[in-house]
């Protein structure tokens, strides 16, 4: 029975595919968290996509239209959003999303319908695992967790680590596991691992406990909203250890919310930051264009990934020679050395982007790009 349904679905989509090719607009769906707890990342990514769309709005002589749906930072809503984009808006490709949990929920729907999806900053390995139609323009958590551990142990010489993990978040759990694995393998020691849940605002209990363990470094694979508060409370409780985090901490507001407490914070991220010294030409153009469009707002890596996700789809459509889901998927899988804002991107066999890991440190209230690291897995 299932097979028959699948066959019918395939046929429906095959015909739908024909219908699309007759159309003279290319529709790209975008599902991002524009409200809810991940809204800050989602909005920046959407602005990145919009900037890219403003720059390149035709492909193969057809107009490119972006259709945006809010996934409300909610797994169920994410699946609904993708369903809506495919069934109602009849998009040929999908961009999204910020947040691995959301990407997994939305990815299932895309995979069943056979519509290619390009993730922006969903870094959990499971997002693309075993999927034919799901890609991403970011690297995956094992690299990022290991990158942070390598930098802490090798570059900074810190031997004792503690972790504060969001148990309700796949991203946070994944990153902490890979940090621990890499850190202990190099000879370091993880002295305590404490948990919290997304949305918590009081971390004093966990932090008091961690402070009493006297670690050299605290790894917080948190999202920015919680991360800034964690750092603030840590400083209030007298913490002196180094604090490190992942790409979800990347937000221009961090110094505003965190104030002096975020001074010295180091995070792994994708190799783009407006403070970077040797930017590639695309990144330079993107930064200037962004500053012209959003006068008072700094660009960040999320915006850059939104931009890259859009451009990589356009590039795939150009190479495929037609804007048809199956052809776009094939072209996306063959992407090699695509030059985006976040450097050169090659899609590997698991559909993840291969690119170096950048590091950002907050110095004197400003984010400074301090270089790149080769993670030891």
């Amino acid at each position: 029975m299932k097979r028959i349904i699948a066959l019918c679905m395939a046929m429906v989509f095959a015909f739908a595919g024909l219908a699309w090719s007759a159309d003279d607009t290319v529709r790209i769906g975008v599902f991002l968290p524009l409200t809810g707890q991940n809204a800050f990342g989602g909005q920046l990514e959407l602005e990145g996509v919009q900037l890219a769309n403003k720059e390149v709005n035709t492909v193969l002589g057809k107009k490119v239209e972006i259709v945006t749906v809010d996934n409300k930072s909610d797994k169920v809503e994410a699946a609904n959003a993708v369903k809506r984009l495919i069934e109602k808006d009849k998009v040929q490709a999908i961009i999204g999303t910020y947040g691995s949990s959301l990407a997994m929920a939305g990815g299932e729907v895309s995979e069943k319908a056979g519509i290619p999806q390009v993730g922006t900053s969903c870094t959990n390995p499971l997002v693309t695992a075993g999927k034919k139609y799901i890609f991403r323009v970011c690297f995956i958590d094992p690299l990022q967790g290991a990158g942070a551990a390598t930098y802490a142990y090798k570059t900074l010489g810190l031997k004792k680590a503690a972790m504060l993990v969001d148990v309700a978040n796949d991203y946070s759990v994944g990153l902490s596991n890979f940090f621990k694995k890499s850190f202990t393998k190099m000879g370091g020691q993880v002295v305590s691992t404490l948990n919290y849940q997304s949305g918590d605002q009081d971390f004093t209990a966990q932090l008091s406990k961690i402070i009493s363990e006297k670690p050299d470094v605290l790894f917080i694979p948190s999202y920015f909203a919680e991360g800034a508060i964690i750092m603030k409370q840590a400083k209030e409780l007298g913490a002196t250890f180094k604090i490190m985090g992942g790409d979800a901490m990347d937000n221009p507001e961090i110094t505003k919310i965190g104030g002096k407490a975020v001074e010295g914070f180091v995070q792994t991220t994708f190799p783009y930051d407006p403070s970077m010294k040797d930017m590639n030409a695309t990144a330079k153009k993107f930064t200037e264009e962004w500053k012209r469009t959003f006068l008072s707002k700094e660009p960040n890596v999320n915006a850059a990934l939104g931009y890259d996700a859009y451009m990589i789809i356009i590039d795939a459509i150009k190479r495929a020679g037609k804007a048809e889901p199956e052809a776009i998927t094939k072209a996306l899988a063959e992407t090699k050395g695509f030059m985006g804002v976040t450097g050169s991107t090659t899609i590997n066999e698991t559909h993840d982007a291969v690119k170096p890991i950048g590091l950002i440190e907050i110095k004197d209230g400003k984010k400074v790009y301090v270089g790149e690291v080769a993670p030891e897995l």
């Binding site: 004093t204 209990a205 406990k209 009493s212 508060i229």
Partner: protein, 297 residues
Amino acid sequence: MNVETFIQHALNSLTLGSLYALIAIGYTMVYGILRLINFAHSEIFMLGAYFVFWGVTLLALPWPLAIALSIAFTAGVGIMVDKVAYRPLRDAPRISALISSIGVSFFLQNVAIVFFQAIPRAVYRPEWMEQPFILGNVRILPITLFVPVLSVVLMLGLLYIVYRTKTGLGMRAISKDIETSYLMGVPVNRVIAITFGIGSALAAASGIMWALRYPQLQPIMGTIPGFKAFIAAVFGGIGSIHGAVVGGVILGFIEIMTVAFFPDLAGYRDAFAFVLLIVVLMIKPTGLFGARVEDKV
């Protein structure tokens, strides 16, 4: 665990607990009089926090003025909510008003998302609030001492209003029997409006304190503290003002001490709050101080 760490945990508990207490007082007050669980309390709490920080950052008002204006504004919103969403349902079954309050809660939250945007905002605190007192390895933030005192002062003030003023007499009469109160010439709608005004002013006060402690504003910031305060109110005996304070403080201690003694369970501390609620409802449904519901205001 050494003594210093324990003292630090105890102080953390006291801060969190008295913040819960502060929110719970507002909850319990409205319940005491109308038997209505006002779920919109969490959103009123959020609005109070936003108003004050707008006053301070956008209008550059001095703190005391911004706080006073915010409390007045929020009280106004509370009275409006009562007028629009609850007064028409006064004679309807109690469940209708409850559902209406859930609706108001979602409505206010979404309005806030539209107007304030979903992005978390920074809260600027006065310099002295950032400086903790340091005793050995124990750090005491000014707010740690300030909030419990404020909670107790507000509690005493409320008890005074309820038991020593004419309006309080009206409140107690309404809580006993609303129909008879009408007949006896109690200005029911006015007394209820005052109740909502005071309840919302308390929500604003607690929202401001919360934002000063956890310096971030978000449209959804009221939800979790609201639930916790509700649990605290039920634990203390919903409808009882001093019960709310005691319930809040105990809940704060349970949450922090869970993490202190069972660090592996740190991620599930919300579950403990809800387990507490279930246990209380099973063993003593009226809560610690809620023996005779009829008399409570």
